[in-house]
Amino acid sequence: MGRQCIIELICSNLTFPFAIYIKEQNMIKRNIFGLIAILALTSVPAWGQANPCNPCNPCGGKKNACNPCDPCNPCGGKMAAPKLVSVNPCHAKFGTVFFVADSMRRDQVTFLSEAPLEDIVGTTNEISGYFAFNPDRPKDGIRGFFTVPVKSLNTGIPLRNEHLQSEMWLNAASNPNITFVIESVENVYLTKRAAGSMTYKMMLVGPFTVNGNTKQLRVPARITYLQESDKTRKKKPGNLLGVRATFELALADFGITDPTGSDIIGVKVGKTVTIEVKAFASDMKPTAGNPCNPCDPCNPCGGKAKNPCNPCGP
């Protein structure tokens, strides 16, 4: 009865091996719940992992020991704000430059794929870039540049994110960013004008790059300009620009095709995906007004309580 057996199993997708070591065969009979306990212990998941992609719960529910009191910087600076992109001097000539780089991550790019088997929603808040134009005379021209890191796209399933970033799809290693350069503007018309605000609808035209493939796109957008006021300061400092755009991308146009031998596009992933962009830019560079720590507007004094620059006091 002292026979020992080792059972090693590989689960259905061959990625979940676990072993059960049973010393005594009688153990099973004596302890009905023993096997359940062993199974539970051998499949202990990595609970409580931090979730840097979730702005509502960036620390995975754990109070961060580094900086537990700062809601703007709950992960002790580990969740970096989108990087400021440098402005093309040729673009800057077109008027005021409005920067998109929200450390609070309120800007959002989403993609929606609708296919017979599955609808996929993905999102990122890591959008950075700029708009250069004269709000009073947008027909004179608009220039701009936007970039989104492929690695920041989140579909809610880590394995799917990994596939999305892989060579077969967006190839994040070789082409880390999705970019859009605004080179011209068409069909500009004013939809609403009020004191200190203007809203335009227009077609933004320029090269859109995904997966290392570039295609000229015409993106319908709505742009609202707001002069700085007490109300706007609650959102962001400076004169503000809100940008909304919705457009469709055909995956084949950007060299995204089915992995060899599979039939995923059209069945599990739509042949076209709908992209929605909502961003709020400001003509005040995010660095302005934060002499202590120009990189982080949420933590202007770098967490140093006794810093004389600390606007919140000691």
Partner: protein, 116 residues
């Protein structure tokens, strides 16, 4: 063998029950990225300026912490919580039962053979 089969049965019932109770999702998920309608904030200066149409339905994509015990696992590594699913729990359990049954049968044959 009966206790083993009973345990496997209980685990199967629990797994399928959990799958049904958490919404019969194909994959195990711990966060959900969903598009949902959001009301326009009346105090939003952009809303007043015509950033949204008056009759427009505004949607926003939100990431929520959830738990869906799916039918299929989506693990990135061995010790990944996304490895939990109906198939990755139930199939190994029944494989264990099957292997133990085979080993026992062979052992009892050997005992019978040696005693004969």
């Amino acid at each position: 063998m009966k206790p083993l089969i009973a345990i496997a049965g209980v685990i199967t019932i629990i797994a399928i029950g959990l799958w049904l109770a958490t919404g019969v999702h194909p994959y195990t998920k711990f966060e959900d990225v969903v598009q949902e309608e959001t009301p326009i904030d009346a105090d939003d200066p952009f809303a007043e300026a015509g950033f949204y149409d008056e009759d427009e339905t505004i949607t926003q994509v939100v990431t929520r912490d959830v738990f869906y015990f799916g039918f299929l696992p989506t693990p990135q590594s061995i010790m990944d919580k996304h490895a939990l699913s109906v198939s990755s729990v139930v199939i190994p359990v029944w494989l264990v039962v099957g292997v133990i049954a085979i080993v026992r049968r062979q052992a009892s044959r050997q005992i019978r053979g040696s005693s004969a």
